[in-house]
């Protein structure tokens, strides 16, 4: 139980810094909606910009990005906008004929076709009518899955696929949603942290923190599942480190810091070093403390 009159929890430091940004914008700068970006000749208008008369102005609050002549503004806080090849964590919202609708924190639900999933046992065949009836057994409503963006349709519809053994239903872990812009696109999304906890950093800002089944060196057999669960139950230590990772990610999200395995571990180890119990990690005073030290040790 803790109460604090400190209002700092409402205002993340990033927003405070943003205020001092000058409105005359140089390269790679922060702009607010309506700010002039530049009046150079022959630029190509990208996302988040608008031509007003002769000026090019921003329509979102974000950072200006230039690629040759293309000028775009990347919003700092926005819904996820997909790119082909992104690894995402999504939640099944609905099942309609031969396809799942998946919530991926985007403007519209993504679509996962029945033909884009791996059948159990990994058999390669045409999806039969029986498979269609068993769709709920593969992924039921509200289930979390990891998947990859296969294709973007003209109207922005996101098509997913899980045609790889590493994708599929997520089990045995905790889900947490963060600002998608904090997750950098990288080659690797499945990480094993040094504390033994596995995470999937979805590009869409959904993060799955879990215990890897494969770590037990067992096959994915139903018989082992209950036994493994027994093991987990006794393994309180592991649960606590999972929760610690979750809270570390929470802190990163709160302070608008980039979420990568390194930064997560930085917070994680800082809290271990200070002997902060897991349940106190999200107390405003402690968060502030951790943030300051971490910021001093490493410019993030």
């Amino acid at each position: 139980m803790d109460k604090d009159d400190d209002t700092s929890i409402f205002v993340s430091p990033f927003e405070q810094e943003a205020v001092v940004t000058p409105s005359i914008v140089k390269s790679s700068q922060f702009v607010a909606p309506g700010d002039d970006i530049l009046s150079q000749e022959s630029v190509v208008r990208g996302h988040g910009t608008m031509v007003q008369g002769t000026r090019l102005t921003s329509t979102v609050a974000g950072i200006v990005e230039r690629v040759n002549k293309l000028v775009a503004v990347l919003p700092i806080r926005a819904r996820y906008s997909a790119e082909v090849g992104d690894v995402i964590v999504g939640r099944i919202r609905d099942i309609v004929s031969r396809r799942w609708k998946v919530d991926v924190n985007s403007r519209q639900d993504a679509v996962l076709l029945l033909s884009a999933v791996n059948l159990p046992g990994g058999v390669q065949r045409r999806r039969t009518y029986e498979d269609e009836l068993k769709m709920r057994e593969f992924f039921d409503q509200d289930d979390l899955i990891s998947a990859e963006v296969q294709e973007l349709k003209q109207d922005g519809l996101i098509m997913l696929h899980t045609r790889s053994l590493k994708y599929g239903k997520l089990e045995n872990g905790i889900f947490i949603s963060v600002t998608p812009q904090l997750v950098k696109r990288s080659k690797k999304h499945f990480h094993r942290l040094s504390c033994g906890v596995h995470i999937i950093l979805g590009d869409n800002g959904y993060v799955w923190i879990y215990v890897d089944d494969a770590a037990y060196g067992e096959d994915e057999e139903e018989a082992n599942f209950s036994k493994r669960r027994e093991n987990d139950k006794s393994n309180l230590e592991q649960r606590l480190s999972l929760i610690r990772v979750r809270n570390s990610i929470c802190i990163l999200d709160l302070y608008f810091l980039s979420i990568q395995p390194e930064t997560i571990m930085l917070i994680y180890e800082e809290t271990i070093r200070r002997n902060i119990p897991v349940q106190h990690m999200l107390r405003p005073d402690i968060i502030n403390d951790i943030y300051r030290t971490v910021k001093n040790t490493k410019e993030m």
Partner: protein, 174 residues
């Protein structure tokens, strides 16, 4: 509960009544098992049936029927009888009004989709030649389907149209 102890072999049951300790009994309709005890979940007559195995009885509760109609819901594997409401190229919409010869209080919406109509050469069938709105068909529930309708199948040999209004129709039994 006082009433439950001496009524282990009662003729009639009330929901929540303890029927027996779970032992050689297996659970039939209208009862459920909790903490190694069998309780009734329906109001009706209790019947014990031999299951064939030694010392094993199956407990069932026959619900008290006030009216002719029953309040069952279709489950996967049930044989249902319904009336065709609409025929499209891909599916037949059926109004289920009976499950296994039992009339229902409420009708449910069911759909026989093209692949479920017959086991063979399902892509060559013209549904309009097989079903007409108003026909009575027998079918089997294959899936709970989507929130709108149950999925039915008429691929078994005994399934299909069992009654049609007009004799001029080509009442092909599939």
């Amino acid at each position: 509960m006082q009433h439950s102890t001496n009524r282990a072999t009662a003729m009639f049951a009330v929901p929540g009544m303890e029927l027996s300790e779970q032992g050689n009994f297996s659970i039939g309709t209208g009862c459920y098992c909790l903490h190694q005890r069998v309780y009734a979940s329906l109001w009706g007559r209790v019947s014990f049936q031999e299951t064939g195995e030694a010392n094993s009885l199956r407990i069932d509760i026959q619900p008290r029927t006030r009216s002719q109609r029953s309040t069952c819901v279709p489950t996967v594997g049930d044989e249902v009888i319904g009336k065709v409401l609409k025929v499209t190229w891909r599916a037949v919409v059926v109004e289920i009004f009976a499950i296994q010869e039992k009339l229902l209080c409420y009708t449910f919406r069911g759909v026989v989709r093209l692949p479920d109509v017959a086991t063979t050469s399902s892509d060559k069938i013209d549904l309009h030649n097989c079903f007409r709105p108003g026909d009575i068909i027998r079918a089997q529930v294959v899936s709970l389907g989507d929130p709108q309708a149950y999925y039915l199948s008429t691929s078994r040999s005994c399934d299909g149209v069992i009654y049609a209004m007009s004799s001029a129709d080509p009442n092909q039994r599939i």
